[in-house]
């Protein structure tokens, strides 16, 4: 089939009846109004831009992980980009020269077969969603590509040293920092969603910031400068003279400083039994250098024995795990440590308040907390449903449940409080209403609204306040507590 070079994109059908979106230009598919999710099953980028970064951007725009319309859809790229992209772990499923390539066709079928097999649901919400949702998306992507095992492989240039393959596409926006990833792995294991397959590596990380990008520098034991040079020590057999090579240098030849004989043959006339280092900063000479470790992230210097060891494993997603992720059950289990979104435990909820009060970046922000009572036991399936709805629709809320009550938290700039507060309250109420329509055994009641202004009240007091037993509380507004 001919590609119309003037058209930005084209949708063609391949042998199996799958529709392929062929891109002749870099296109942000999510924003393109005339392309819809149902219009195509796979993507093919047929053009290579001269600038490398442009190519990467083009791929990100149709990423099967992050893009909404292209979520989980197979992605192939023209072979001329094969060399460039191979350096990085890939979210590109393969390279070929035409969309009708046999390999491409097969791979499409494979991926859809995986999606069928694991029952992966293809819904993607907005970009700034909770960490938990992010994780599930990654897991879904992995499963659809048939990767049942995941591991943290060493990525070139990635400052944390180890990461999941496809995150390299997101450079500085990597959403899974190493702490989160380790907790994620541990959590997955604890919940039974993944099992350890093998031990990959034990790496050492900076004791201050946990970064894996360390520089090991040999330096002078006295002054710590690395401006040192090494010199051999020569032993002249004839006269038992043992001194550095520089004392023997004589116009390109080696001549003994003691007996003035020229050295000709190593092992017969002379030998090199040792070497000494000389520091140019403090002019001292020494035999053994010391090693200092420099963290390229936080610029902290330390000794090699102060480094923190970190074990990296390979994991495999278990049946239980697959099941949990596909049914979004996992969302409930995986708590989000993100500051202001997602579902979390009550302890984390309250500690977020404390953290917020100490953060200088949010000095002119407030926390708005809604407290609802709902009919049902704690950890009821209804609660899971509700929370799941929250996570899907309202991304900027942090939600928790405590003693049969639901708390939601959101962050607002101070001056927007008057306008936003009622609007948000309306949104939440509507959510509950919607749910109530679906399930008539459910009932809810708005209890109270709290506003946390760190200049007016201390975090501990506030936390106590919101935890107080409340029966028949009437809603109050700001200023009334």
């Amino acid at each position: 089939m001919e590609k119309n070079k003037d058209k930005k994109y084209d949708i063609i059908t391949n042998h199996n009846g799958r529709r392929i979106l062929v891109l002749n230009r870099m296109l942000e598919v999510d924003k393109a109004k005339d392309i819809n999710d149902e219009d195509f099953d796979a993507t093919f980028i047929s053009v290579a831009h001269r600038a490398y970064e442009e190519n990467r951007l083009g791929v990100r725009w149709v990423s099967p992980v992050r893009s909404r319309k292209c979520f989980l859809k197979p992605l192939f790229v023209t072979s001329s980009l094969e060399e460039e992209f191979n350096l990085y772990g890939t979210i590109v499923d393969g390279f070929c020269s035409t969309p009708f390539d046999a390999g491409f066709t097969d791979r499409i079928e494979q991926i859809y077969a995986n999606i069928e097999r694991f029952g992966i649901t293809r819904e993607l919400s907005k970009l700034d969603e909770s960490t938990a949702k992010n994780l599930t998306n990654f897991v879904k992507y992995d499963l659809s590509r048939g990767h049942l095992t995941y591991t943290n492989a060493a990525i070139r240039g990635l400052s944390k040293g180890y990461s999941a393959d496809f995150l390299s596409w997101y450079g500085n926006e990597e959403s899974l920092q190493i702490d989160d990833r380790m907790k994620y792995a541990k959590m997955m294991e604890e919940l039974g969603f993944a099992e350890r397959v093998k031990h990959i590596e034990r790496v050492h990380t900076c004791p201050k910031c946990g970064d894996g990008h360390l520089l090991f520098i040999e330096c002078c034991p006295k002054c710590g400068s690395s401006n040192i040079h090494e010199e051999s020590i020569l032993h002249h057999f004839r006269c038992a003279n043992l001194s550095p090579e520089s004392t023997y240098q004589w116009d390109g030849e080696l001549r003994c400083p003691k007996c003035k004989k020229v050295l000709r043959h190593i092992g017969v006339d002379y030998d090199r039994p040792a070497s000494a280092h000389h520091c140019h900063e403090c002019e001292s000479t020494f035999i053994n250098t010391t090693m200092k470790v420099f963290c390229s992230h936080c610029h902290h210097t330390c000794q090699p024995d102060e480094l923190l060891p970190l074990d990296i494993y390979e994991y495999r997603i278990t049946e239980k795990g697959i099941h949990a992720f596909m049914n979004d059950e996992a969302l409930m289990e995986i708590t989000s440590e993100d500051i202001f979104s997602g579902h979390c435990s009550y302890e984390v909820f309250t500690s977020t308040i404390t953290t917020f009060s100490a953060m200088p970046a949010y000095s002119d922000h407030l926390l708005l907390i809604f407290r609802y009572k709902y009919s049902g036991v704690v950890r009821d399936w209804r609660l899971m449903d509700i929370v799941r709805s929250f996570l899907s629709h309202i991304v900027t809320f942090k939600v928790t449940s405590h003693l049969g009550e639901i708390y939601t938290m959101t962050l607002l700039p101070k001056d927007e409080l008057q306008i936003e507060a009622p609007r948000l309250r309306e949104i939440v109420d509507q959510l509950f209403e919607e749910y109530k329509e679906r399930d008539d055994t459910f009932d809810f009641k708005f209890l109270k609204e709290y506003v946390f202004d760190r200049e007016l009240v201390k975090a501990e007091e506030f936390i106590k306040k919101i935890g107080e037993k409340a029966d028949n509380l009437t809603p109050v507004h700001k200023g009334d507590f």
């Binding site: 020590i233 032993h235 038992a240 003279n241 043992l242 550095p244 040792a274 020494f286 035999i287």
Partner: protein, 449 residues
């Protein structure tokens, strides 16, 4: 009853034997005959090793007060200047001894020193011990050669990094008296021409075996007494490698240490030839371990004897020649050492053979009387030792071994020396000795004329 009879018979036999001896030999013996039979003892050994030493020691004792005043002056100068001393300890596989040595150094009355330990290709844990001691601050510098180069090269290696005005060279298994460093530095301040000072070496493990006890007496006599005498006469010829101090500049000027064995005697020769004076400090005491078995002792003395031939007779024979650098005292010191240690050994050998043939029928009496004479000599020598030593009480108990000293010095050491000198003269055995690493020996052998 039978036992009593046995005793009685033995006693009677002894008395008879004594009577026989007395009758056949002693009664008929005149002074001239005695002298002609034992001429070696009376004309060669006695004058140099007993009479001379006694006289000089008495002289030293008499001038004690003058000496003390000079020493006090020197001490004051030393402590006013307080120069940095480099303590150099080369060795191989000496890890377990280094800590003890460093501990004894901390007890010194003179504390302005830096310690340089050189590890000459050790293959045990010495490198780890040394590095840890350096990190902990017990040692100032720990140098290590991955390949063994021999003691001289190790000492030169350490000397390259030395910063002190004086260099004190120690063996790793030496330990020092509290004032040893101070005392060994005094001669430098008593006479500015002195560039090398030897310390007194005594045996630490004297009560281990018979062998070590006899060596203890030998060291006392030949080192503490003997070197005091030669030093007073100006013919002192060997600064012991176990404990010696040198002026660093002079040391570098004569080219520091050359390949051993006998590198301690060799460097003393070099210093003397260069026109410097060397002295002996008989109150700077260092204790070292002597070989405990006869076999090891034998090996050690063989090596010493070979080194005499290799260095004094071959390498430094120009001391004996009328060259431009001729100095009478240098000549005398070298000559005295060669004569008494080497030449007279051969003469003794001839003398013994002569005795065996001349007096074949009276060998037992000759032997007994000879032993008796020697025993008296050694009592005199012990008296001299007691005059000089600073630990008379502890060393007094060595007197019990005096009867055996004659066998030790008179026969064992003599024969060892004979074998050593002869094999070195004719077979150049020292070049095959594993005391030096083979690579250096091969080269040295290629070089020898």
């Amino acid at each position: 009853m039978i036992i009593l009879d046995l005793f009685r018979d033995m006693w009677l036999w002894l008395v008879n034997a004594f009577n026989d001896v007395e009758v056949c030999f002693l009664r008929n013996l005149s002074i001239t005959e005695l002298l002609s039979v034992y001429w070696y003892l009376f004309f060669i050994e006695f004058p140099r090793y007993y009479l001379l030493e006694a006289i000089i020691t008495v002289y030293v004792k008499l001038t004690y007060h003058l000496q003390n005043r000079k020493k006090a002056e020197a001490r004051m100068k030393l402590f006013i200047e307080r120069p940095l001393i480099t303590i150099l300890v080369p060795g191989k596989n000496e890890g377990k001894n280094i800590y003890k040595l460093v501990t004894s150094l901390r007890e010194q009355t003179y504390q302005n020193y830096e310690v340089i330990v050189v590890d000459d290709g050790s293959d045990d844990g010495t490198s780890y011990i040394g590095r840890d001691l350096e990190k902990a601050g017990f040692i100032d510098r720990f140098l290590r050669s991955e390949k063994r180069g021999g003691k001289a090269s190790a000492a030169n290696f350490g000397l390259y990094y030395a910063k002190g005005k004086y260099v004190v060279h120690l063996d790793a298994d030496s330990s020092l008296d509290r004032d040893a460093i101070e005392k060994i530095l005094l001669p430098f301040y008593m006479d500015p021409k002195i560039k090398g000072v030897g310390g007194t070496v005594k045996v630490r493990n004297a009560s281990d075996t018979l062998c070590t006890s006899l060596q203890a007496i030998e060291y006392l006599k030949t080192i503490q007494v003997g070197r005091t005498v030669t030093s007073t006469l100006g013919i002192y010829h060997i600064i012991s490698g176990a404990f010696g101090a040198f002026d660093r500049q002079a040391l570098n000027n004569v080219g520091a240490w050359d390949i051993g064995p006998g590198l301690d005697g060799d460097i003393t020769q070099k210093l003397r030839k260069a026109g410097h004076k060397v002295a002996f400090a008989n109150d700077a005491i260092c204790l070292t371990n002597a070989p405990t078995s006869w076999y090891r002792l034998y090996k050690q003395r063989l090596r010493w004897s070979r080194s005499l031939v290799r260095f004094r007779i071959r390498k430094h024979r120009d001391i004996l020649m009328p060259t431009g650098n001729f100095d009478f005292f240098n000549f005398l010191s070298n000559m005295e050492n060669i004569m008494y240690d080497c030449v007279f050994n051969y003469i003794w050998f001839i003398y013994i053979i002569g005795l065996l043939f001349t007096y074949t029928d009276r060998l037992l009496e000759i032997f007994l009387v000879g032993w008796l004479i020697r025993f008296f000599f050694s009592i005199i020598a012990f008296g001299v030792i007691m005059m000089v030593t600073e630990r008379p009480r502890q060393e007094a108990r060595l007197a019990f071994y005096l009867p055996l000293v004659t066998f030790y010095t008179g026969y064992f050491l003599r024969i060892t020396r004979l074998i050593g000198h002869t094999t070195e003269f004719f077979f150049f055995t020292s070049y095959r000795d594993s005391w030096n690493p083979r690579k250096t020996s091969v080269y040295a052998q290629l070089e020898r004329q």
